[in-house]
């Protein structure tokens, strides 16, 4: 099941706005649940590999905030006068860090959805003609990421074969061969693109991307969500002012709920993109 890439872009924009503008923890929890529900029907076939990064991004701000911030009233404990980390450690700072972490986790989740639902080639195809070459370059760069990881593995294995250590300390030595491999590959891609007549004239589309009702619903829902957030901005949650979060406002709640449109419409028009003209 495929939705139009522009619909996904609209949805992602709205979801990111919701994740960052209102830091209300209730809404954040709700938003995470909704994103997971969107991911399941569209991306269930693929495994998410970046959840570890998401978790790390969620935890790191807590540590930094609690260890470095000296604001807040609810004191956890007081460290002796050690440079940088000495002084009062507060609950407020920890909660502030957690709030930032949650926003970052949501961002990663949104991009995980985008990554599984939008093919880079489709995204390039909807770019206007003048951006086409630039867009394709970006798409190619994206396609490189998994291959770069694969070459990193083979380089590490090669180093083991040569009896070199494979720990983190060897990372800088891995960087150069990795860069070389990637560059060589990029040159080959360039040659292949040229040899296959890329960019010689106006392109035609083998797979036109039709708009479906579901796509329109997603766009409308996302635009409404953005409008609600922008036009009626909520009082952002700030643990330093008040540790207990307030009740979410109706517009923000509505905005977050509207983001569930892709999940709700997932049952509509079960058409495989690849089979459009089969």
């Amino acid at each position: 099941m495929i939705r139009h890439p522009l619909a996904w872009c609209a949805w992602a924009t709205a979801a990111l706005a919701a994740a960052f503008i209102d830091r209300n923890p209730f809404l954040q929890a709700l938003l995470l649940l909704i994103i997971i529900n969107v991911f399941i029907p569209y991306g269930a076939a693929r495994r998410i590999r970046i959840w570890k990064i998401g978790l790390a991004l969620a935890v790191v701000p807590i540590i930094f905030s609690v260890a470095l911030s000296r604001f807040g009233t609810q004191v956890l404990f007081t460290l002796p006068d050690i440079p940088i980390i000495g002084g009062r450690w507060t609950v407020d700072a920890a909660v502030f860090g957690a709030s930032t972490g949650a926003a970052l986790l949501l961002t990663v989740a949104v991009f995980a959805v985008l990554q599984t639902t939008v093919r880079s080639a489709d995204l390039v195809a909807i770019l206007p003609q003048p951006f086409y070459r630039a867009g394709t370059t970006v798409a190619l760069a994206l396609a490189f990421a998994p291959k770069t990881v694969a070459s990193l593995h083979s380089i590490r294995e090669a180093r083991q074969l040569r009896g070199q250590r494979a720990g983190w300390r060897s990372a800088p030595q891995l960087l150069l061969p990795l860069l070389l491999t990637t560059l060589e590959r990029a040159l080959q891609y360039g040659e292949s693109l040229d040899a296959r007549g890329f960019g010689s004239r106006r392109r035609s589309r083998y797979r036109p991307l039709p708009w479906s009702i579901a796509d329109l619903l997603i766009v409308v829902g996302s635009l409404a969500a953005v409008a609600a957030i922008v036009l009626m901005p909520p009082q952002p949650y700030n643990p330093y002012l008040d540790l207990v979060p307030g009740v979410p406002t109706v517009p923000s709640l509505l905005a977050v709920l509207l983001l569930a449109t892709p999940a709700v419409t997932a049952g509509l028009s079960r058409m495989d993109h690849a089979a459009h003209h089969a």
């Binding site: 083979s154 090669a158 074969l161 491999t181 891609y189 693109l193 040229d194 010689s200 035609s204």
Partner: protein, 547 residues
Amino acid sequence: MPLITLEGVGYRYPEAEPPALVDVSAAIEPGQVILLRGPSGSGKSTLLRCLNGLVPHSTGGEFRGRVIVCGLDTRAHAPRELGAHIGFVFQHPDAQFVLEDVEAELAFGMENLGLPLPLMRKRVEEVIDQVGINHLRRRRIDTLSGGERQRVAIAAALAVHPQALVLDEPTSQLDPQAAEDVLQVVMRLVAELGMTTVIAEHRVERIAPLVDRIWTLDSGVLKDQPPRAALAEGGARPPVVDLALRAGWSPIPLGLRDARVYAQRLPRPPPYPPPQAGEGKAHYPLPRAGEGRAHYPLRQAGEGNSHFPRAGEAKFHEGDFREAGAAPVLCRVENLEYRYNGVQAVRGVSLSVRRGQVTALMGRNGSGKTTLLKLIAGLLRPQRGTIHADARAAYVPQDADALLFASTVEEELRGQPPEVMAPFHAWLRRYPRDLSSGERQQLAIAVVAAQADLLLLDEPTRGLDPQVKQALSAFLRLRAAGRAAVVIATHDVEWAARTADRVLLMAEGKIYADGLPAAVLSDSLVFATQISKLVGGGLLLPDEVPV
């Protein structure tokens, strides 16, 4: 009127000293099939890239003369314009795809030409049938094997209806079965569509009977000859041609079928195994006897795997038995089991490897060869069974490129003893990744395995030209003579016949045959050399056949 004309083409890469091409003049008529040969680094890729303008447009450098493709001068027209006329298939199966799935990839070239959708659909269906990849059409590119990728690449090139197909060593990175599939496709296009084709290829046995002209490149100088004259002169050629030249057959047969007629005149060799000890040598020379190869039964009865000749039936020289006892076992493996991702890759393999032995490990893809090598090398830990090795094992993986990443050859070889450095003297200052594939392979072996007593090589001949293969063979024999043991996983039957003392056949994670190459390889449909198919009787190589 020729389809492609090269007039006095000379080319020098930017900042390179010797020219890559020197005054190349040739013409390709419509429908011709051209085989381009030459040692690695002789300028084959450069010449092919001239045909669609990649040289000089994407490489820069100093270009002389002119190339006219379908009436277009490549100096004035960019590769992307020539892409409509020349379908190009690159050497590396993974570096030429742009999109994610097969169908999109097939349409990519046509999209670039701006063809209307109905025409694109029709052509996609047609190339899918022509190349026989209907079962792959919905697959993602990254799930395809190398051979499947090359077939998709050929189909994608074909979809734009080019006037000529140019293939740059399309099989050099593939195992023989996949290479065979790809060459089948090329041959079918030639036969059914009369496709004008220029192909650089080391595996000449398959296509030699089909070609109209052979172009031989040496240091950038091109010789354009009819096939028989070119093959008679040297370079990569099918084993039957070697035999024909020795036996004075004329005209030279280019393939097995032509050669059968002549083979009738040869004295019939007795069937293998030879009748009695001592008599064998009298009847026909044992493979490379007297060249320091030990011929001995490699396995005692009851050790598990079947033998060639089978245990009990085998009759060997008594001296061979003694020699077998003399060579100490370097590595003994017992009841090895290894399973990953739910696949039993190695099941119950027992094996001893002796000093001075070169063993070829053969079998289809996925039969467990690589896993077995990695187990012996200690890179994988067996789930069951024991490995006992008396020496340091070194494993050289298939993709030797990954091993080389210093900025000069000298730096790669740092810390190696002088005798290892010696053969690389001329290259010490060079950048390892600029070496040709054969040179890189040699360097990788030197870097990893120079000092090991047990050398484990995975497909070392992939992409190597005949001269380099011969050099590699000599090098490994030399190491074996220096009391090292060598185990090679390979698909290359001709090379294994020339190099190994012992052949193991593997399938489904088990070794099912073990013995002398002459015995194992001659009693096989798949793993038989061309000469063995022609003459039989345990003769594997052209120089063994009495004429």
